[in-house]
Amino acid sequence: MTDLTAPGDLPSFDDRDQILAQVARWRAEGRAAALATVVATWGSAPRPVGSQLAVDAEGAMVGSVSGGCVEGAVVAEARDAMADGKPRLLTFGVSDAEAWQVGLACGGTIQVFVERIA
């Protein structure tokens, strides 16, 4: 928990500010990083459009693109994106084999864009 009583510039409690600030810290340390963003949702989805998950080369992560259902698959794709530099557009839904495997329990479909930070 961030210290609410700190004077001066107060911290932002917007998830994305905390996530992007973490990405910037990783980059300042010279670490590879990738960012995943929910770009579309259909039906019941755990996180709204714009939600983000950042991953570094060691697998450290901050944020989320679902309620934990597809993060594992997204992290794997993020590592591939870090390696080859190519952006990826992923779709997870009930009919998707991988989502079944990891369990998108809400029954919705989400589209996630994954990109390397460089």
Binding site: T5, L10, S12, F13, D14, R27, P87, F113
Partner: protein
């Protein structure tokens, strides 16, 4: 995403500058748009402006393929009139919900940095303070003093604004008298209906923290449900 785009995003956020990050979903090429600062709008500018106003990211079709518009609005704002006991938990809960909070009270002993560490304080008279605060459609105003000479001028200014939420602490009886005064001052029934009073959702709140929870819950309901349900749940 290029490092310089990331760095510009963080700068814009720190400066509370609204923008849209447009990402081509095929190529990954990104552009930052500032539609609220630009009158000569291209089609992507115009679509970015619509996304900013709706505060909702979306995919749009362009000549270069699908583009995702990620909306970055500055935080919502809350003006709290009356640096009373309830204001202390209210400020903290509103901060967690990521509101930029300003506490307004000309009584310096109440609106002190010791009682509200790190929070923007105004010691101007509430009407002047609210004119300076400039409530817009991403702002909420809550009055907590119970004192007509402090609350009423604030409510008058709030009613003249586009604030998406206006709430006033006080019993039903107090609120009835308040509405009588505002109507005498020329406000219509429709104007007065914008004021949520007694403030907060009806959850049987007793302690200052519980009342603060009910207020932030009602502000959230109005924000996210366009008001209808929240209004119906206001104690009549």
């Amino acid at each position: 995403m290029q490092d310089d785009i990331l760095s510009q995003i963080l700068k814009n956020r720190a400066a509370k500058r609204p923008f849209v990050l447009a990402t081509n979903l095929t190529t990954g090429i990104q552009t930052i748009f500032y539609p609220s600062e630009n009158n000569d709008l291209s089609s992507l500018d115009e679509m970015s402006r619509e996304a900013l106003v709706a505060d909702q990211g979306r995919i749009v079709e362009t000549d270069e393929g699908q583009v995702f518009l990620n909306v970055f609005n500055p935080p919502l704002r809350l003006a709290v009139v009356g640096a009373v006991h309830i204001a202390q938990p209210l400020v903290q809960i509103a901060r967690l919900a990521n509101y930029d909070v300003t506490v307004i009270d000309p009584r310096r002993a109440f609106a002190s940095a010791e009682r509200f560490p790190g929070i923007a304080l105004s010691h101007d008279w509430p009407d002047e303070a609210l004119v300076a605060f400039r409530p817009d459609r991403r702002s909420a105003v809550v009055t907590l003093t119970h004192d007509p000479k402090l609350d009423d001028p604030a409510l008058v200014e709030a009613l003249k604004s586009d604030a998406f939420y206006i709430g006033a602490l006080g019993s039903r009886k107090t609120h009835g008298k308040r509405l009588d005064r505002l109507k005498e001052a020329g406000f219509s029934d429709a104007d007065c209906a914008r004021i949520h009073g007694p403030v907060g959702l009806s959850i049987g709140a007793k302690s200052p923290a519980e009342i603060a929870v009910s207020i932030v819950a009602q502000i959230t309901a109005v924000l996210r449900e366009a008001g209808s349900r929240a209004k119906a749940e206001t104690p009549a």
